[in-house]
Symmetry: C2
Subunit: 290 residues, 2 copies
């Protein structure tokens, strides 16, 4: 069961914001979708591609009379932006977002909102290395997780409507605390990115002495692809979810030390045991994904 929204404002019409707009339009989930952004060319293109119905450069204008406001800008820009529009929300409007980390962002935004706003943060785990409205894809969220992290300013009804919206977009939805979200994401998304960035950096340093990159193959190319993600976005994630990421990184560094010790001691059995366990994890994940 889905329900329809009146006016929807999408602030930041990039890959994610654009894909939400496109999917909502196709599914007729909104009477009108207004795109808000800073780059006029991107907004014009989004309108031309029928991703949005109209656009504006003025946050206040775009938010006025909106029943649903979706923050899809870089995360660090969100609090400043909310501050500038907090007075313009229609009573009962739902404010949601698509940010990759939750705790700090919620801490900053909550004090800016008055009681008339229903604030229901969400995070669709559906990144790609591409950015910009022109890559918008109505199927982007299909069979991917979207995690909803209610706050003290979320009504039951608001959570339900946001949940139904994401289900309508094809996502698998889970509701959890902002803290659990940030910890889970630190492990399965943020740490892997740090690991890939570290690897590409180490190899780039080596490249100066011995050309290694031209032989890159198989698995390493996946790392390179991961480490090609948006530098600004990943800077923000590292700063916003710093504590959780550092914890996860410490655990990871311990594992590396264990593996190094085994190599130094030529402990073949120990290495094989760790590698076999990893293969089991792979099989488990493949099974869960069908």
């Amino acid at each position: 069961m889905t329900d329809k929204f009146g006016r929807v404002s999408i602030i930041g019409v990039g890959l994610i914001g654009g894909s939400i707009a496109l999917a909502m339009r196709r599914l007729k989930l909104a009477n009108e979708i207004i795109g808000l952004g800073r780059r006029i060319e991107n907004l014009k293109q989004a309108k031309k591609l029928k991703i949005i119905d109209a656009w504006s450069l003025k946050p206040k204008e775009a938010v006025r009379n909106a029943e649903l406001i979706i923050l899809a800008t870089p995360m660090r820009a969100m609090p400043e932006l909310v501050k500038s529009i907090a007075q313009d929300f229609k009573p009962g409007a739902i404010l949601t977002d698509v940010g990759s980390t939750k705790l700090k962002m919620i801490e900053k935004i909550l004090p800016l909102l008055d009681e008339k706003v229903d604030f229901v943060p969400a995070h669709p785990i559906a990144g790609r290395e591409k950015t910009g409205a022109k890559y918008a894809d109505a199927e982007l969220f299909k069979n991917r997780w979207t995690i909803i992290t209610p706050t003290q300013r979320s009504s039951k009804k608001g959570v339900l409507r946001i949940k139904r919206l994401w289900l309508a977009l094809g996502a698998k939805v889970e509701v959890m605390s902002p803290k659990d979200h940030d910890e889970i994401l630190a492990y399965i998304s943020h740490l892997p990115h740090i690991v890939a960035y570290g690897l590409v950096s180490a190899i780039w340093n080596k490249e100066q002495a011995l050309p290694v990159l031209r032989f890159s193959a198989g698995g390493f190319k996946d790392f390179i692809r991961i480490a090609g993600s948006s530098p600004e976005m990943w800077r923000d994630i590292c700063l916003e979810n710093k504590d959780m990421i550092i914890n996860a990184l410490n655990q990871y560094q311990n594992q590396l030390e264990e593996l190094k010790k085994m190599m130094v001691k030529e402990d073949g059995k120990g290495l094989e045991k760790v590698f076999s366990k990893s293969r089991q994890v792979k099989e488990k994940v493949e099974k869960q994904d069908g």
Copy 2:
């Protein structure tokens, strides 16, 4: 220009050995291909799939009268195996291999060979997570690198013939020292695998306290796939190329420490600089691959 071999013995008819056999048969590069292995079922299947012409469980038998002997067993098994057949090589026969590391393997095998054998080690960088003859693919080496690492027991003609063989199989070929090979592979293949194994281990440990694996997405799934590679093969690689891998791992750990320091200090500019550099590396590699 390619030239044809008389009898070819492939010792170890797994993914790599089987794929070489299949490609050589299709291209008519051998009069006869004998497969040698320990598992009779695998050999029977390889014959049935027309990957090999005949098979044997006896190394000596399979090597007799062979013009080309290809070692495609797990690496750590190679020296013992060569010891058992060293007396049976036909004068002028070429012995080659497909092992993922070179220095130690060559050190162990060279003293076992007499002057009548032309020993030309090679390494096709074309792994997959699958193992076994049934996954043999004649196109496996197409547009992938094969690195040839001549030894003091390699004739110019032998190197040329092995080079032509790999070019015929569609590979890009580079000739370099065993040491350079092992150092390059430590960075672009072995280190990425260790990094992935460490990550999957850290996440598996976390999983016991907080279920994170069910949310695995995007980039992390690539890590899981990499860490699902053959435990025996990767144990061998870690032991055989220990010193080079530990050096590369140390460099990598330094990079991680740098990134962690930047996060602790909330040095957004520093993080963004590293991430931007990574994106440039990605663009460089994409460009080189066309």
